[in-house]
């Protein structure tokens, strides 16, 4: 059994994959806590899809360098995040409409860019569906550094994020920098989406943002324990998912997500609040 478990670590690419997915799982879980508490799931999904034009342009500019692609993806996500925020604030559209508008423009632009270049299609699939086994050492460094920054900021500022989420008026009366904090949360989400690119990909980023925190929400009574449990389930899903992927021969991204979903369903069954949920 031990040999079976250790087998994975014989390959350097497997170790890199494991580190990348653990970082992804943990960071998504932390940021995802606010995603589900603030009802930002659609925003998260839209943001994940909005990196596509950045990915395509980065690919073109960097002549196929995956590292360059990550930075362009980050720029794309930041632009999308801030435009969605600004469009919702400055127009009378409902927030989800504003998000939808930016989402479709960015995604369509991305696909349009990709369609201009034949060589794109195969390589860019990696970003759509993730390719954690193909993480290069350089990419891994970027993922770890970005992930660490996001996690540190979320932990340092968690009181601010909590108050602007729970009672924004209180944040105003306490003289918190409300606008700064809400924009920062959007930016952190944008960075998180980029961290996810390589492991679960654009299409399944939302799963990592939503599933582990929801599992934590079911089992925890307070925010700190919810965050801790989310991280635990995010990391567990990543590690187990990689094993399942390796031994069952399915793609790593969906495998991680499906394990995360299984953990969620398990929590739903044992949750003390299950009856309450079902009764609604």
């Amino acid at each position: 059994m031990t040999a079976l478990l250790a087998e994975l670590f014989a390959f350097p690419f497997m170790i890199r994959a494991l580190i990348a997915s653990v970082v992804t799982g943990a960071v998504c879980a932390l940021v995802g806590t606010y995603v589900i508490l603030r009802g930002m799931a659609f925003f998260g999904d839209a943001l994940a899809h909005s990196v596509l034009p950045g990915v395509a342009l980065g690919y073109l500019v960097g002549r196929g360098s995956r590292t360059v692609v990550l930075w362009w993806a980050l720029g794309s996500a930041v632009v999308a995040a801030l435009s969605m925020g600004a469009l919702a604030r400055r127009t009378r559209f409902k927030e989800d409409t504003a998000i939808g508008i930016v989402f479709v423009i960015m995604f369509a632009a991305g696909i349009a860019l990709i369609s201009t270049h034949r060589g794109y299609a195969v390589d860019l699939t990696h970003f759509l569906f993730g390719n954690v086994l193909g993480v290069s050492p350089e990419q891994l460094r970027i993922v770890v550094v970005l992930g660490f920054c996001v996690a540190a900021l979320v932990l340092i500022l968690h009181r601010g994020f909590l108050i602007i989420s729970f009672d924004p008026v209180l944040a105003h009366t306490l003289r918190m920098p409300v606008r700064l904090l809400s924009n920062l949360l959007l930016l952190l989400l944008a960075v998180t989406v980029v961290v996810c690119l390589q492991s679960v990909g654009i299409a399944l980023t939302l799963a990592m943002l939503v599933l582990p925190p929801s599992t934590g929400f079911l089992l925890a009574q307070r925010l700190p324990s919810m965050m801790a449990l989310s991280v635990f389930f995010g990391v567990l899903a990543s590690v187990l998912g990689l094993y399942v992927s390796y031994y069952a021969g399915i793609a790593a991204g969906p495998s991680i997500v499906l394990v995360g979903a299984a953990l969620f369903l398990g929590a739903l069954l044992i949750s003390p609040r299950r009856r309450l949920l079902l009764a609604r």
Partner: protein
């Protein structure tokens, strides 16, 4: 569940960004107007409120009660006019506590009562540091003062409507607020819970200024020394007996009230708010 007003008020550890001007009223407005997309929600409001006053703000739905409170809280900027809190502009104070409507917050948040009350201590950059023992003492004391100490570890979603409002009062006490703005705190409370909450507000330690938006004319008449009748404009301000007279009530509520003269005064039948209720004035 009785409040414990005999406990001393702790004032420590909270940095005030603005100095209050000595002798200035708690709240002053001069020609204050607020427009939403060109439509006035408040129109040329002028009044001043002494320190430690208890003011009930009444008016039909859409009269601008919440807008008024939000301007004072510094969340909304007035379109024109002046507003001063303890002699200074509202933004910059940390002594103002806004107690949201029941529907204003998400009660499914994973928070305990003590977590929610502790938020009152996180003003400004305090959010970056760990809670000190002074913070913890202040929070415990605030919980004791509103009678929620036993429920401190309860999740906020499990509180009754009255307990939720008391929790917000405790948060304001922990914040060491000197001006409490309560937005329809009585909505959805039964008569007993309403009475308990009003008793608590009357006996608040530290004698803060309190402004309460409410719908119940009878409650305002019985429990508030001063009332403001609002319908975008300030219709009348003063003692309930002077304010709740037929001309003012008709001006504020229009056809929504039916006034019946009885030998004891004017009986007001309102249907502007759900559930329909009766109140007596005059």
């Amino acid at each position: 569940m009785d409040p414990a007003p005999h406990l001393p008020v702790i004032r420590s550890g909270m940095r005030r960004r603005l100095r209050h001007q000595p002798g200035a009223p708690a709240l002053e407005m001069e020609g204050l107007s607020v427009c939403y997309a060109g439509v006035p929600a408040l129109d040329s409001i002028t009044f001043s409120l002494a320190r430690s006053a208890r003011l009930g703000v009444l008016g039909p739905n859409g009269a601008g009660k919440s807008t008024l409170l939000r301007v004072v809280a510094g969340v909304l900027q007035p379109t024109s006019g002046e507003i001063r809190v303890y002699g200074a502009r509202p933004r910059g104070h940390t002594c103002i506590a806004y107690l949201p409507q029941k529907t204003g917050v998400d009660w499914t948040f994973p928070l305990t009562v003590v977590d929610a009350v502790s938020m009152g201590r996180w003003g400004g950059w305090n959010m970056l540091r760990r809670s000190t023992s002074k913070d913890k003492v202040a929070v415990r004391q605030a919980l004791a003062q509103v009678g929620l100490l036993e429920l401190a570890q309860r999740r906020i979603t499990d509180l009754s409507g009255g307990q939720q409002q008391r929790m917000f009062v405790a948060r304001a006490l922990a914040q060491e607020a000197e001006l409490l703005l309560m937005d329809e705190p009585l909505a959805g409370l039964d008569v007993n819970a309403q009475r308990d909450l009003l008793d608590l507000v009357e006996a608040l330690p530290g004698d803060p200024t309190v402004v309460v938006a409410l719908h119940e004319l009878a409650v305002a008449r019985d429990r508030f020394p001063q009332v403001l009748l609002l319908n975008r404009r300030a219709v009348a301000l003063g003692a309930p007996a002077e304010v709740f007279v037929p001309t003012h009530l008709r001006e504020a509520y229009g056809d929504a009230v039916e006034l019946i003269d009885t030998h004891r005064g004017t009986l007001v039948v309102t249907d502007h708010c759900c559930p329909p209720q009766e109140g007596k004035a005059g």
